[in-house]
Structures are given as C-alpha cells and as structure tokens.
Symmetry: C2
Subunit: 194 residues, 2 copies
Amino acid sequence: MDFSAILRKRRTIRFYRQMPVAEKHLLKLVESACHAPSAANNQVLRYTVVRTPDLVQAVFYNTSYAGRVTPRRSPQWGVNAPTAFIAISAVKNGPVLSNMVYADAGAAVMSISFAAVEEKLGCCWIGAFKAKEVTELLAIPETEQILFLVAVGHPAETPVEDTIQQGESVAYYLDEFDRLHVPKYSVEAITRIL
Amino acid sequence: MDFSAILRKRRTIRFYRQMPVAEKHLLKLVESACHAPSAANNQVLRYTVVRTPDLVQAVFYNTSYAGRVTPRRSPQWGVNAPTAFIAISAVKNGPVLSNMVYADAGAAVMSISFAAVEEKLGCCWIGAFKAKEVTELLAIPETEQILFLVAVGHPAETPVEDTIQQGESVAYYLDEFDRLHVPKYSVEAITRIL
C-alpha cells in the first residue's frame, strides 16, 4: 500500500474481530521492526510473538486500554479483544535501561504499526500492563526487561483523527455513534521554522 | 511510494548532496510525525525546522556521526553535510522526562524517516550532539527539553543492510568501495513464538 495512504489510515485499534492472525503476518510486523534504526546499531530489542489463545487471554487480563474513555473502549475477552500480542523486551546492559532503548522501542512500534496497516491488521501500543505478571507468563529471560506490548488483531473499529490547534484539548473521546475521535495537533501548532 | 519499498530502501544517510531542502518537504516530514501515536495522546513533542544555512552550519558543528567508523563517515561542512535539521523537543512536565516521552520521540523519528524516503530525501537520527549549545542556538524555550536532532538532506550515499544471525557482530563498517554496511538481525535471531 502507498505510504501516504498508510499514514492517513493508521490509527490505534482497540476493538478486534474474533479471528486469529496468521503467524506469517505477525512475523511480517516484527520484520518491519528489524529494519528500524537503533542507537549505535546495538539492536538490544527482542520480540515475543503470542498467538496461543490461552496465553493471549492470560496476557490480555494484565493489560488496560484507553484510560480517558474507560470502560467504553476496554475490549472484552471473547467479544472484541486482541487475538495476538507482540511483547518488546530489551537485553539489559546495566541497572537501568537508557532512554535510547525506549526511543529504539518507540521506533520499532511505529514501524510495526505501519506494517500492520499494510497487512490489513490493527494494533494498539500498550504501556499500561502488569509487567511482572506478563514477564512470568511469557517466560521473558532474566537477561531482558519487558518494555511494551503491542496488541494485534483484525480491526473492528475505525477511529477518526481530528486536527487541532495549540490550546485545544488533546483528550480523545467517543461520539454519539461510539466512534473514537483522536485530536492531533496540526503541523503549524507545534512547529517553529528557522 | 509503496510502504514495502520504503521499508527496504530506508537507511540512515550521513552524506548529503549540497542543495537545499524545500521548506514544504521538511514540513511533510514533521506532518508525518504529527500523526504518530503518543502516550495517552498527550503529544508533548515540539519540532524546530532549521533551514537557514548559517544556523544549519552552527548546529552541524555541534553534532557527531557514526562513532564506529570515525572519521570516515563524518560529513564535512560545504562538502557533504546535511542541509537541514529537525530538532525534536518535549514540553517538560516534571523534573525528569519519562521514558514514554523518549518512546514517543522514537516513534516520531521513525515516521519522519519513512516520510523522508517518500520525499526522496535522506536523514540521520542524532542522539550525540551538544544539547546545551543547540538549545541556545535554536532558542528552544525553557519550558521544553531538546531530545534529538534529525539531520536531513538529499542523499549522497547508499548504505547496504546485511542480515545477520544471533552471535554475529552488529558493528557497521565501510567496505573497499567506501560503502557503509549495516548488519541487522534476522527475525528468527531475535524473536520467540508462543
């Protein structure tokens, strides 16, 4: 798909159709992240693809979604929950992971999100999850630290982006048709030109 | 351009042709970042586009490139240096920026990097720069903290990605034709499937 179309179409998806995602499609998402830039090219990120329904369910119960519109955008298991997860962890190289590792992970998630649109999938970048429980469920090695989850599935909603100017509210909201609106600043609102 | 083509083609570019980048193209790059996901949709990132040659030069002298192959991939002003920069800063909301802000910035840079390929430009994500000096040069407000620079220009090199397996070196290197090779892990090398 054309990149400009992907850019327009990509939105965080929190409701999913209840059909499995093929392993090969999930690996396509991870592959897109493998090409991403990495500080000093160190590539400390590792990926755990979760497709087994019991495990997806267990991980799902340790995640939360869309705090601003709870519970109206909280998916329910067996109804509209994600059917896969990709966990992103980092190989530890000291007591605390550097900011650059989080930046690398953000770049990886962005690439995964674009690739998801290309594969006709949707995803949700999740920072709000019970890290200890998910680390145990997925048997993440002690040499690694889990950073983020990405929920993946076939989209069952079509959120809308609204352009806003400086000073307007960034709070996303549901309209009368239960459609999620995501306010995003215009270029002019947040850019200086020198 | 097709996303899969952009994904294959995108590489960090450190040598540039000496011709200016049109403002509208730089704003296209920032626009791509405006659509990116943001933790709780807070959108704390701000962008400073730098095109004025004197200012680009001043910023350039506060940046460094490709530590592993210094000085062979260090661009020189007037020869193959970037002709623009985009500075990414974040509105401060406490004494220390959270990891999520760095993750947001990583996502923004990834989107900018893809958009650069779409615009037939190249860019280099720079974490190694003199933050205090650049903050002063660009008059970044005290309410913000600069996180990253992205060097931008018309590409004058074509780096190559090499696929590596677990245990192989991630060190990028220059070959006998002065072409940069960037080893990237295969999906299998860094992915577990559950």
